[in-house]
C-alpha cells in the first residue's frame, strides 16, 4: 500500500482514478478499506466465507458505480453503505433474518464501563455474531448504523413493531451475555467486576 500511495495524494485523486477504471486504484481501495468492510459484513453475515463473498460483491458494486459517487460525503461512508446493502441482500436471499428465537428475560444488567475498557471490538463482534440473525440485523441497523425503525421496516419489509420488539430482544440477549462475560472475567481474575 505504501508503494502505491505516492500515485494518489488525496482521496479525490484516488476516486478519479477509480472512475477511469485503473486497477492500481482498485487495489489501493481494497487494501485501505477491506478490513473495515469485512467487519461490517461479518456483523451481518456471521459465516466468514459468506461475509467474504458479500464483501467481494460490495467492492464489485462500488467499482461499477463509482461514477454515481458525488464526493459530497466520505468515500468510506458510501462504501460502508454499499456493504450494508449487499449484506441485507444476502440475508434477504437466505431469508434467515426472519427467524425468531425466544430469549429469556433480562435478569441482571452488565457493567458498561467495564465492558468499554476490558472488551475489544473483536469480543463485541463475536458477541454480535452469536445473536440470531433476525435480531442481529435489526440491532446492527438501529444501534450501529443509525437506522430508524421506519427505515428498518422499509428495508426488511417488516412492520415497525416487529423491528422494535426484535431490537428489544436483541438488547436483552446482549446484556445477558455481557453480564455473563463479566462474571467469567471476574472468576478468571479472582475478583468481581465493580458496578
Amino acid at each position: 500500500m505504501v508503494r502505491l500511495l505516492p500515485f494518489f495524494q488525496s482521496e479525490s485523486q484516488l476516486i478519479t482514478a477509480l472512475k477511469r477504471g485503473e486497477s492500481r486504484a482498485q487495489k489501493l481501495v481494497y487494501d485501505r478499506y477491506s478490513g473495515k468492510m469485512m467487519a461490517v459484513c461479518v456483523r451481518y453475515v456471521a459465516n466468514r466465507s459468506d461475509a467474504e463473498e458479500v464483501m467481494i460483491d460490495g467492492f464489485m458494486r462500488a467499482y461499477g458505480r463509482i461514477a454515481q459517487f458525488r464526493e459530497e460525503g466520505s468515500f468510506e461512508g458510501w462504501l460502508r453503505r454499499i456493504m450494508v446493502t449487499e449484506s441485507l441482500m444476502f440475508l434477504r436471499r437466505t431469508k434467515s433474518w426472519r427467524q425468531e428465537i425466544p430469549i429469556d428475560e433480562l435478569t441482571t444488567e452488565p457493567d458498561y464501563a467495564w465492558a468499554d475498557t476490558s472488551l475489544e471490538a473483536n469480543d463485541l463482534l463475536r458477541l454480535v455474531g452469536q445473536l440470531p440473525e433476525g435480531y442481529r440485523t435489526i440491532f446492527n441497523l438501529y444501534a450501529v448504523e443509525g437506522y430508524s425503525h421506519a427505515e428498518i421496516a422499509d428495508e426488511l419489509s417488516i412492520s415497525e413493531g416487529t423491528s422494535k420488539s426484535q431490537l428489544s430482544r436483541a438488547r436483552n440477549w446482549l446484556q445477558a451475555n455481557l453480564a455473563k462475560l463479566e462474571r467469567e472475567y471476574g472468576q478468571a481474575n479472582g475478583t468481581t467486576a465493580v458496578r
Binding site: S34, A39, A121, L125, V144, E145
Partner: protein, 304 residues
Amino acid sequence: MDKPTEQQPLDSLFRRKLDEASVQPGADVWDRLSSRLTAAQPLPVEKPTRRLGVFWYGSAVVAAAACLWLVFVWTSPERSQVTVATTSGITQTKSSAQKSGEGQQKEQLPLANQQSDRTQLANSNINAKAKQGNSSEQANRTELQNRVRLARAEEKAVETQRVSPSSMGNEVLEKPVVAQLQTQANSQKIAEPVGQPNPIATATSKSQETINETQRTLIVQVPDIHKTRHESVMTSEENNLAHTASVESKETKLSRAFRQIKRIKEGEVFAKVDNARGDDDESGLFDRLVRSGRAKDNTTKQQK
C-alpha cells in the same frame, strides 16, 4: 437517516467499538475480486460506441460517394444522352455509336446510320422480348409500334430541319447528298420482298453484320416486326417525296412570279416576245395598247 431517539448505553458501546472494528479478509479474497474484475473488464459501453462510430463513418463515406457520383453524372457531357436514352431507344443507339468512336462519320451520314441503328435497336428489342414467350408478344408489338411512331416523328423532324428554307446555306447544299443516300438505303430496303426468309439482315448496313447468329434467327421468327419496319420505311420515303414535291412546287411558283415581275419591268422584251407570239396572245397587252394608240393617231391624222 434519522437518529434513534432512544440512545441506550449498550447501543453506544457497540457503536463506538464496532465502528473502528477491522477484520482482515482471507489472502485469496483480492485474487477472487481481481479475477471477477478482469472478467468484467471488457466494458460493454466501448464496443457499441466503436461499432456506432464505424457505422456512422461508413454511412458518411457511402453518402459522400453517392453525392460525388450524382455530381459527376449531373455535370458530365454524356448526361443528356443518358437521360434521353430513358425516353427514346433511338437516341440511346446514337449515343452508343458516338461512344464507340465513330463520331463524326456518323454525323455526316446520320439518316443512313439511323436506319441501321434503328434496325439494330428493333432487333435487340425483339431478341429481348422474344425470350419472354408468346404471352407477351402482343404487348411487344404495341410497344414496337409506338417506337416506330416515335422514330417516324423524329425522322420527320430531322428532315424538316434539313430541308426547311430557313436553314439556307451549307445545310441546303448538303440536302441532295443526304436525300440521295437515304433514297439509296431505302431503295434497297423497298426493293426487297416482304416474304423473304431473312429480310432484315439483308437490308441492314455493314454495322449489322456484327450481330450474332442467335439474334438473326430470333428476328426471323417475328415477321410482323419486319412489316412494321418496312411500312415505316415506306411512309418515311413517301413523306420525303411529298416534302421534296412541295418544296419544288413552292420554288416554281416563286420563280414564275419573279419571271412575271421581270417581264413587266422589261416591257420591250415582253412586247417583242408578244409580237412573236401573235395578237391572240393575251399576255401582250402592252403591245396592244401601243398599237391601238398608234392606230388612233393615224386615224386622227387621216381625218385632219
